[in-house]
Symmetry: C2
């Protein structure tokens, strides 16, 4: 694939836009194609089989653009289905697990790392496996946070929102005995409520705690990959095209929360018509 091909990014819905925001900032001359599977969100409370099936469809759609690289900006898919995606598609694919796990190991001093993520991601334990295989002496504790995605998607995100603070306290309390000094936000929705999570962690665990944003780390990983492979765009001025699998209107309304800017050029596609089969 050539330098000026696009980078594909997908997520179950809106969350991946937090990674797009970073990509746009650090790679302003790249062409980005984003797909949000809003017709089938959420993924994180579903089974590995269904998540893998949906992820293959999503990448099948994105691959039609002829990508030079793809970012799976969904913690759940990165944990559960990255292997299946890499096997099925001849595209360099980066997930959000490895870069964030590596970063957490660099930052943590007491070598106790917490993972806040969807139930599917926690159950899969991909972060723990990666850390055990690549670093010594770390322990990882995952806490499934099934309410965070609906809270974020329904805009319960202001720092003083009592409901989200109570739910955050409930999840963070499970980490009290483990006493981590670093928390990975393993779902790309969570950076939107980063302040609430950090407030809760400082109150319940320790003032001295760091947060790793997995979407942000993965965006930096993509940049390093393009530099290494000499695949950075040599055209000036990047662009982002947005595609979703449910109505455009609702997506545009919420997207600004994640992107920090309003968008209007979003197109709807029928994701079931990109159903992936081995014969593709």
């Amino acid at each position: 694939m050539g330098k000026n091909n696009a980078i594909g990014v997908f997520d179950s819905g809106l969350g991946g836009l937090s990674a797009v925001r970073v990509l746009k900032k650090i790679l302003p001359d790249e062409k980005i194609i984003y797909f949000g599977d809003t017709g089938r969100v959420p993924y994180g409370t579903r089974s590995p089989e269904i998540i893998t099936k949906y992820a293959l469809d999503d990448m099948n759609f994105l691959s039609s653009f002829g990508l030079k690289a793809a970012l799976v900006a969904c913690g759940t898919v990165s944990s559960v289905a990255l292997g299946a995606l890499r096997e099925a598609f001849d595209i360099p694919i980066t997930g959000v697990v490895e870069a964030s796990a590596k970063k957490a190991c660099e930052i943590s001093k007491n070598k106790r790392i917490a993972l806040l993520a969807t139930p599917a991601t926690v159950k899969n334990a991909a972060h723990e496996r990666y850390i055990n295989e690549n670093f010594d002496g770390f322990s990882v504790m995952g806490v499934g946070c099934p309410m965070f995605v609906p809270l974020v998607e329904n805009a319960y995100v202001s720092r003083d929102c009592k409901v989200t603070r109570m739910i955050a306290d409930e999840y963070i309390s499970k980490l009290y005995d483990f006493a981590p000094d670093c928390i990975i936000l393993g779902c790309t929705h969570y950076p939107i409520i980063r302040d609430i999570i950090l407030d809760s962690a400082r109150k319940i665990i320790s003032e001295d705690i760091s947060i790793v944003d997995s979407g942000e780390e993965a965006a930096h990983e993509i940049k390093r990959f393009l530099e290494r492979e000499n695949l950075l765009s040599d055209e000036k001025g990047g662009s982002v095209e947005y595609y979703v699998s449910d109505e455009v209107y609702g997506f545009c309304e919420s997207a600004s929360l994640f992107l920090g800017e309003t968008i209007s050029d979003v197109r709807k596609i029928d994701i079931t018509s990109y159903h992936y089969t081995d014969n593709n």
Copy 2:
């Protein structure tokens, strides 16, 4: 169709089980086939187009059992897609809108009826249309409650659960000026938190307020239909078969909350292989 054919019931996920519970009680000798589209839940925050598409698939699956009647135990589908279902399938189909709207008009003295439902159901305003066409002088106010389904699906359901109480207070407060004396629970998930909703309504609106459970009313409507058409089963001892579109395990775990009993005989199907087309 014969007397001893099954009654089909479907919902986006677990909620419809609250209607199955009533059906089993009032029609103990019927054979019931339940389908919960757990692989694509929730429906209520999606667009009418996607909801209709999913509902046609769901009924397409159920129709393969040769039904004598079907109950759409999903407020969202009943509001948005009942017409499309009745056009596509030659089966008597009952939704949850009409029976609950009728019941609310019988009960309400001040003729102000509130509807708590998913955003898609509220936007569609099917209850209001039905009431305006069939009753005089009633007004209806709908409040979209997008957090209730995730709260119920994640078991935030005990009467003293602070988070659910706060969210309920937020939604019920929107009804303060309207001052209804009757509230329709327009989504079959909501009966699970009926006590919380009632506590909130008594506190914020009035001690003298009634709740109408749309799944329950629809179950009674089905019974009246079978009696009228002489279609009641003449065999003794009913049964329920459960089908879902994601993993069986999670469904069994949560189902007891809705059914008041544990179940184990649940089968998983691939709902995408029942994709409905006009040529079916």
